[in-house]
């Protein structure tokens, strides 16, 4: 996918903030089958202060599971398209063994529905491979500082879940049932989602609502948590209905 001959450079034109309140990313497990991408991510992590020896690698699901069994990781960057399956399926496995691990999904072009599924199943964030290194670094940094990544398509997806059933046409992005999250979001949360859906970034939303970006991030995290809880509750209910529980 990426030419291996190409060297990736990380132009960080902004200072890395003092990582006092930051979450610990390392040790990190990178689950990615492309060596170039592995190298690229290691490079970005290095720029964020993660030493190279604290980074583990796995090229497929089996390898990742083995690595998880052998050692504990503070975070895992998981590609969704692995040779032996979807990285999303790794997330529940990961959380079963180490609930506090930050699971971040790596995705490429046209995989929005995979990202949504990943968020549903407990990923705290996602990285888009085609983005500039600076953007990926910024996203990781945001996750490190407790931020929550959100894109217009995610916002739209959740808004559809909140909206009244008849109000929205069937989505081609993800199999979301309209109205299944109705009434679960606060008015402020819905307001923020609407702005995100219009393409505004956290900084702009913070400016528009006269709040700090941190507050906005808090709201977004709350929204994503509800999405996950909703998914989990639905799964449990379904399992009950099927007699598995």
């Amino acid at each position: 996918m990426y030419p291996k001959a190409l060297s990736w450079s990380l132009h960080l034109s902004f200072p890395i903030s003092n990582p006092v309140a930051a979450l610990e990313l390392s040790p990190v497990l990178i689950v990615e089958d492309h060596v170039a991408v592995q190298r690229r991510l290691a490079h970005i992590l290095g720029a964020l202060g993660v030493p190279a020896e604290r980074i583990g690698y796995a090229a497929d699901i089996a390898g990742a599971k083995q690595a998880m069994r052998e050692s504990r990781f503070a975070s895992a960057l998981v590609d969704v398209g692995l040779p032996d399956g979807s990285g999303i399926d790794l997330i529940p496995y990961l959380h079963e063994r180490a609930p506090d691990t930050l699971a971040v999904v790596i995705s490429s072009f046209g995989t929005q529905d995979l990202i949504l599924r990943a968020l549903h199943s407990g990923a705290v964030g996602y990285l888009l491979k085609e983005r500039e290194d600076v953007e990926i670094a910024a996203a990781l940094r945001s996750i490190q500082h407790g931020g929550a990544p959100i894109d217009p398509f995610v916002a739209k997806h959740i808004l559809r879940l909140v909206a009244a059933p008849a109000a929205s046409p069937p989505s081609s992005v993800a199999a979301d049932a309209p109205g299944e999250m109705a009434g679960q979001l606060t008015r402020r949360e819905e307001e923020i989602l609407t702005l995100v859906a219009q393409g505004l970034v956290t900084r702009e939303i913070a400016e528009r609502l006269s709040r700090s970006p941190l507050t906005i991030d808090g709201h977004v995290k709350s929204i994503l948590r509800k999405l996950q809880v909703n998914t989990r509750t639905k799964a449990i209910n379904q399992a009950r209905a099927l007699g598995w529980l």
Binding site: P3, L6, H11, S13, F14, F109, G110, Q112, E130, R131, E132, V134, E135, A137, A138, D151, P152, F153, P169, S171, S172, V173, V196, A197, Q198, G199, L200, V201, R203, E204
Partner: protein, 646 residues
């Protein structure tokens, strides 16, 4: 039965002439009675002496002379023709020394009267002068106890007030053991009163039922005529039940009205037969009703005293009309093919035989035997009601099966329609998919393809000039282009407003620029209402992306303002930064040229200004009222692009 034929005289004649339907219960009784009668023991007391004498209306005691021997039962018209007034009957018999309770049965007296036994008053009717109590059809019974009887000669004195027109006289008198006579009385009572009351109620019910049925379903004219004739028959049958003249001042008026009912009944019944056999004979029907009207007019125009002969003739005519209607039924039914009509006509055959028989009986013989009409009346009523009910339920079944069929057809039509809609939808979906794919292909061809071809040409022809940095830039351009195409094809790209389609680019570019320390400020207006065709939207987005990429790569700015305004003049897009301006960087010239080309394609005007610290590029007046939506409307036309090398 003998009493009905002979004793009741005129009334009985009417009865027979009218061809009775509804005294079926009596008929059954008559049979039972006839069978029982054969076994009647011969222990009845014989009345050996019967005399009668006339007196005036108000006589309180029998006359001293003028007594003549009479038969019992007796019709005084045979002896004293045309006599209206009071006739005294004196009947005598012998009792032995050992007196026992004895039953006395008087079949009837016509019309009103007083009965004494050994000068003791036994009964007295209410009105003994006009309007007379109509007691002609009332059997009477007494149980005579020894104190009332005498050893030796006993006398039964009957004072009868009668009118010569209505066959005045007395019926059969029976004396004998209580049990035997009592049984005879019960049978008579049933025949002459109870059974009539029952059939009256049945006819009333049927009449009301069918009339209401007709009122609710006017097309069922036969039902209407049947109901009407049943109700008219009630008016005639009233003669047999009522013991007073009712609302009428005299028996003559009563009889005339009664006859009118019979005439109307015969007319209605004829109409019923016609309609039942689905016939319309306008001329015959007109003649029929004109005749009925004339008869009625004649009946009521005559003075009461002279009316009677006409009345009897008309009632016989009505009876004959009834017979004719039955013949008609027979003929029509066997010409047609309707099962129900044939069933009914079979009963008409039975009826006709009986009716003719009855007419002969009452015209020629005074003391008749059996009235078969009663029996056929029973079967007739039953059959007519049954046939009509059958017709009714058959209609119901027809409606039901029709409904089923209709339901079936509706279901079939519905599923066919659903199938068609589904197919249409599938075709539409297929078209839409083809359209989407073509759009995608065209987008890729237009941008990704051309820049790829350009890059290949550049690298191929001057490989020494290609640096790693420029190659990287080239690849990143391709990536950004791909991103745009992916974003717009994954989102509900063909439907969303421009604002929605802008969102992913805006978000992405803001994050990127923020990440590298260039502050973005977006200023949008009027985009929610803006809808552009997909390819034009993509061009606008490419312009924005290109301009921002230039700012990112070359400007050195730390602030960029992007404004997109849509109003009546069209769409205006402007990107303004505070960088060092272009001109210094040779790479920027190519970018500017491509933006200029895009402006031309969009039909807007290109503007740019560049001074250090203030650089702006803009396209103004992009027309927004464009009707063509090539994605959906002309996929085939667009397929030409598929042939272009990419």
């Amino acid at each position: 039965m003998r009493a009905v034929a002979g004793g009741a005289g005129g009334s009985a004649r009417d009865h027979a002439a009218a061809t009775i339907w509804n005294r079926f219960a009596i008929a059954l009784l008559l049979f039972a009675h006839a069978l029982a009668g054969a076994a009647t023991p011969a222990t009845l007391t014989t009345i050996d002496s019967a005399f009668a004498a006339r007196s005036d209306w108000n006589a309180a005691a029998p006359p001293a002379d003028g007594w003549e021997p009479v038969p019992v039962p007796d019709l005084w018209n045979r002896r004293w023709h045309g006599f209206d007034g009071v006739v005294w009957y004196r009947l005598q018999w012998d009792e032995g020394q050992s007196l026992q309770n004895t039953g006395l049965l008087l079949e009837y007296l016509n019309m009103a009267g007083i009965v004494y036994v050994n000068d003791v008053l036994m009964s007295r009717d209410e009105s003994l002068v006009e309007p007379l109590t109509r007691a002609w059809n009332v059997p009477r019974y007494w149980e005579l106890a020894p104190p009332l009887l005498r050893a030796g000669r006993n006398t039964l004195l009957i004072r009868v007030s009668g009118l010569s027109e209505y066959t005045p006289g007395i019926g059969k008198v029976t004396l004998g053991p209580v049990a035997t006579v009592r049984d005879m009385y019960d049978a008579l009572r049933l025949k002459r009163h109870d059974a009539l009351t029952y059939t009256f109620a049945i006819n009333a019910t049927l009449g009301c039922f069918f009339v209401i049925l007709w009122l609710l379903s006017r097309r069922e004219v036969a039902f209407g005529w049947y109901g009407l004739s049943a109700l008219l028959w009630l008016g005639y049958q009233f003669n047999f039940i009522s013991t007073s003249t009712g609302p009428f001042a005299s028996n003559r008026t009563f009889a005339a009205v009664n006859g009118a009912f019979l005439l109307l009944f015969a007319g209605s019944f004829t109409m019923f037969v016609l309609r039942f056999c689905e016939r319309r004979w306008p001329r015959v029907e007109t003649v029929l009703w004109v005749l009925v009207a004339l008869a009625l007019a004649l009946l009521f125009a005559l003075p009461p005293e002279r009316r009677d002969g006409v009345r009897i003739a008309l009632m016989i005519a009505a009876g004959l009309l009834g017979l004719a209607a039955n013949v008609l039924l027979l003929v029509l039914a066997w010409r047609g093919n309707e099962v129900e009509q044939r069933v009914l006509s079979a009963t008409a055959v039975v009826y006709l035989i009986a009716g003719v028989h009855d007419l002969l009986v009452f015209r020629s013989v005074i003391i008749g035997n059996t009235y078969y009409a009663d029996i056929t009346a029973f079967t007739n009523t039953l059959c007519i009601a049954g046939v009509l009910a059958w017709r009714y339920t058959r209609n119901l079944n027809r409606i039901r099966s029709f409904n089923l069929q209709l339901q079936h057809e509706v279901d079939a039509a519905r599923s066919e329609l659903a199938g068609n809609l589904r197919r249409e939808h599938e075709i539409e979906m297929a078209h839409a998919r083809i359209g989407d794919r073509l759009t995608l292909v065209r987008d890729i061809h237009d941008s990704l393809g051309s820049s790829l071809l350009g890059s290949i040409a550049e690298v191929e022809h001057a490989p020494e000039k290609v640096s790693v940095a420029s190659l990287l830039e080239l690849l990143k351009d391709l990536r950004d282009e791909l991103r745009l195409i992916v974003d717009s094809s994954i989102h509900e790209s063909t439907d969303g407003s421009f604002a929605e389609r802008l969102a992913p680019l805006r978000h992405r570019m803001t994050r990127l620029l923020d990440a590298v320390g260039i502050r973005c400020a977006w200023d949008t207006a009027g985009l929610d209402r803006l809808e552009l065709p997909s390819n034009r939207t993509l061009d606008v987005l490419r312009f924005v992306q290109e301009a921002l990429t230039n700012v990112l790569k070359h400007s050195g700015a730390d602030r960029v303002e992007i404004s997109l305004h849509c109003n009546a003049d069209g769409l205006r897009v402007e990107v303004r930064d505070n960088g060092k301006g272009f001109g210094s960087d040779p790479g920027q010239g190519a970018g500017t040229r491509s933006m200029q080309a895009r402006a031309q394609r969009l039909g807007g005007t290109w503007r740019s200004e560049s001074t250090p610290g203030q650089t702006a590029v803009a396209i103004v007046g992009i027309p927004t009222t464009i009707q063509d939506r090539p994605i959906q409307n002309s996929p085939i036309q667009d397929s030409a692009t598929q042939n272009h090398p990419i």
